[in-house]
């Protein structure tokens, strides 16, 4: 096989085949996928994220949360995603149309977060968990994020209403309080916005569970 042009064309055409098949065809099929409007309730799904939650997504991306947490629920009967309560239905292409970038993830060092906003909506749980995961989930290998919080002396007006209720070994020095920074607040808004359970024709939510 010493004929250069043949080699060159072969190299070109083989990669062109999968470029058409796995890049161009998905773009043709899904590149313009839009929201779904329920004909009975006029509910539109999925909704774009509100400003603060969208800013929180940037922190989720920058801190690399995606390397330990997936955002995809596999179908019932394939793995235990639904049995573990990570979602009421599998996730489908339409769930992700607003995400830039799409952070499906490939590793579950920690649990799936597709519906964390639905599973855990308590602000104070999220703040404590981010400040130090050992407070809420002893034995976890998730890193603490102390740099998303400010430890400061309690002011003359008394403790801030935002201050974390920390006890025991996790409490700050006497006379001090731990308050979430803007970034922590945005990140928690993002986590609370994670809900992919809208009823879609291609992925119906089981009726008895939906109520």
């Amino acid at each position: 096989m010493s004929y250069g042009p043949l080699l060159f064309l072969g190299i070109l055409f083989t990669l062109a085949s999968s470029w058409v098949g796995l890049v161009l065809m998905p773009q043709r099929q899904l590149g313009a996928l839009g929201q779904h409007t329920d004909t009975n309730t006029a509910a539109v799904y999925p909704q774009a994220r509100a400003g603060e939650a969208q800013q929180g997504a940037e922190h989720y991306r920058a801190l690399g949360c995606v390397y330990c947490h997936t955002q995809q629920v596999r179908p019932e009967g394939y793995g235990a995603d639904i049995a573990r309560g990570w979602g009421r239905r599998r996730t489908v292409s339409r769930d992700y149309i607003h995400d830039k970038p799409v952070m499906l993830g490939t590793m579950r060092t920690g649990p799936d977060l597709t519906n964390i906003g639905e599973r855990q909506s308590d602000y104070s749980w999220h703040y404590k968990h981010l400040y130090n995961p050992q407070i809420t989930s002893a034995g976890s290998v998730m890193p603490p994020y102390p740099f998303l919080f400010e430890t400061r002396p309690i002011g003359p007006m008394g403790p801030s209403t935002n201050a974390l209720a920390l006890e025991g070994a996790f409490a700050p020095a006497p006379g001090h309080e731990v308050v979430p920074t803007l970034r922590a607040r945005q990140l928690v808004e993002y986590l609370r916005s994670l809900k992919s359970s809208g009823d879609l024709p291609e992925a119906p939510v089981k009726k008895e569970e939906a109520q």
Partner: protein, 497 residues
């Protein structure tokens, strides 16, 4: 030899006439000298990135079983440090070693000196500026969040210029070839330098410059990320194996026809594999199915190449004791077979149901990128460096420390995490097991991973010291070399004691 016969012999020598031994040696020396500066630049900067990447790897590994370690440093949080590790070793070390090896191999096989080597050196400078800016961006929180493409958009155009220069220069060398016969390694090298800029360009445009909508991003992401392995690193690694095994043992490759079959089946099937990273995910079933089918078809190139490489070695395993190059290359060749078979298995729906999302995948990635690719690069460097510098390796003991450190380290890594990952997957698929119990189950295995990381670091340190020593010797007066033969050194000195 009288002067008349000498001039007759000289007249008989045509350009590229490699049947004449003196001419052949002179030509090889000329080729090696032309490659010296650019290849050294790629190897030296690659190794510096390897050291940095090893350090980041250790920090990441420790953090995953001891989360309080360096927890106050935002730039070293696990999600960042792990990403910095991947990008330093993949783009800093592996890609640069690959380019160095590819350029030297291409010149040797085409039997032409590198034209204007300064341009390739400039490409190297561009490349290192690009990687430095990219790594700095990730540390500063500018990661794109797209796996294998984390470097921010202000770094990647610099890298693209470098890739384009390297591709153009490889093609120019290929066009100027004095040897019309093409060896199998040249097919792979040519393919790799043509494929990579296409992959990288597509991914940059569709994911970062003008992102496509929704899960199409995931499709493009894994089409790219799998092809970086399959169409950039794998072809260069296979080109090196195809070159060095026959070269070191002095025997032609087992079968030419298997080489042809192996190359074209890889070209046909590998680039369709990417979607098997998304089994069970929110993409149309046809895409994932197509990739699973292509992954199983990979058995053809993998087994073909395995038969070809390993059959060439049969009867010559004794030479592994002597040649450092052969040791690393054969270790890499065997790992390529194993990594590919593990990859085929992991693509199957039933296996993926358990192994996906676990440390099994992490082990698989290291079997491919390290036990196969990095080992082949080490082996190639052991062969190339004495030839381009004109100096032998200063210390055989350090070569042994390098080999055994990384060999034991990576075997421990892959075996332990592959097994632990499967159990982790089984536990996750049992909804009665609490998630935190799955996490706690993995911790001892993650600690073993840190131990294996220390062994790898030891090996890398030995290599870098030996390399630095060799560079010092390069600028010192020439001394009678001691040839790098690891065992049975007495056969190396024909003149006797």
């Amino acid at each position: 030899m009288s002067s008349t016969t000498a001039s007759k012999t000289l007249q008989a020598i045509l350009p590229g006439d490699f049947s004449n031994e003196d001419f052949r040696r002179a030509k090889l020396a000329e080729i090696d000298a032309s490659c010296r500066t650019p290849v050294l630049f790629f190897f030296v900067s690659g190794l510096l990135w390897l050291l940095a990447g090893t350090l980041f790897a250790l920090v990441a590994s420790i953090k995953l079983h001891t989360p309080g370690f360096l927890a106050g440093w935002e730039s070293l949080t696990f999600g960042i440090v792990r990403t910095v590790h991947l990008n330093t070793v993949v783009y800093g070390f592996c890609s640069q070693a690959a380019v160095g090896v590819a350029i030297w191999l291409m010149c040797r096989l085409c039997r032409v000196p590198l034209v204007a080597p300064g341009i390739v050196t400039v490409a190297n400078l561009f490349y290192n500026v690009g990687v430095t800016v990219g790594i700095g961006g990730i540390l500063a929180g500018d990661s794109t969040g797209i796996e294998w493409l984390e470097m921010p958009r202000y770094a990647t155009p610099i890298l693209f210029v470098s890739y384009a220069l390297i591709a153009v220069w490889t093609i120019i060398t290929f066009r100027l070839r004095a040897e019309r016969h093409l060896y199998v390694s040249q097919w792979y090298l040519l393919a790799a330098v043509l494929w990579f800029p296409w992959l990288y360009g597509t991914a940059q445009v569709m994911l970062i410059v003008e992102p496509v909508r929704g899960v199409v991003q995931a499709a493009v992401n894994w089409w790219f990320a799998h092809n970086v392995l399959g169409l950039w690193f794998t072809p260069i690694g296979l080109a090196a194996i195809y070159y060095f095994i026959p070269k070191v043992i002095g025997r032609p490759i087992h079968s030419y026809y298997l080489s042809v079959l192996g190359f074209w089946s890889l070209a046909l099937f590998y680039n369709w594999n990417g979607m098997h990273h998304l089994v069970g995910g929110p993409l149309p079933a046809w895409m994932i199915t197509v990739s699973i089918v292509a992954s199983v078809m990979m058995l053809i190139p993998v087994l073909t190449v395995a038969i070809n490489h390993h059959s060439t070695m049969i009867g010559h395993f004794g030479k592994l004791r002597h040649s450092p190059t052969l040791r690393f290359i054969v270790f890499g060749a065997v790992s390529y077979t194993l990594a590919s078979l593990q990859g085929v298995l992991s693509a199957l729906r039933s296996f993926s149901e358990v192994a996906h999302f676990t440390h099994h995948t992490v082990a698989h990635a290291h079997l491919g990128m390290y036990a196969f690719f990095a080992m082949v690069m080490f082996g190639s460097m052991y062969y190339i460096l004495p030839r381009i510098t004109g100096r032998e390796w200063p210390s055989n003991a350090l070569i042994s420390v390098h080999f055994w450190g990384v060999a034991i380290g990576i075997v421990l890594y892959v075996v332990v995490l592959s097994a632990a990952g499967l159990q982790q997957g089984r536990m996750m698929n049992d909804p009665t097991v609490k998630f935190l119990d799955v996490v706690k189950f993995t911790i001892p295995y993650l600690q073993i991973r840190t131990v294996s990381g220390l062994l790898l670091a030891l090996g890398h340190a030995a290599f870098v010291v030996n390399f630095g020593w060799l560079l010092v010797r390069m600028f010192a007066p020439y001394r009678k070399p001691v040839v790098s033969i690891l065992a049975g050194a007495e056969i190396a000195s024909p003149s006797g004691k």
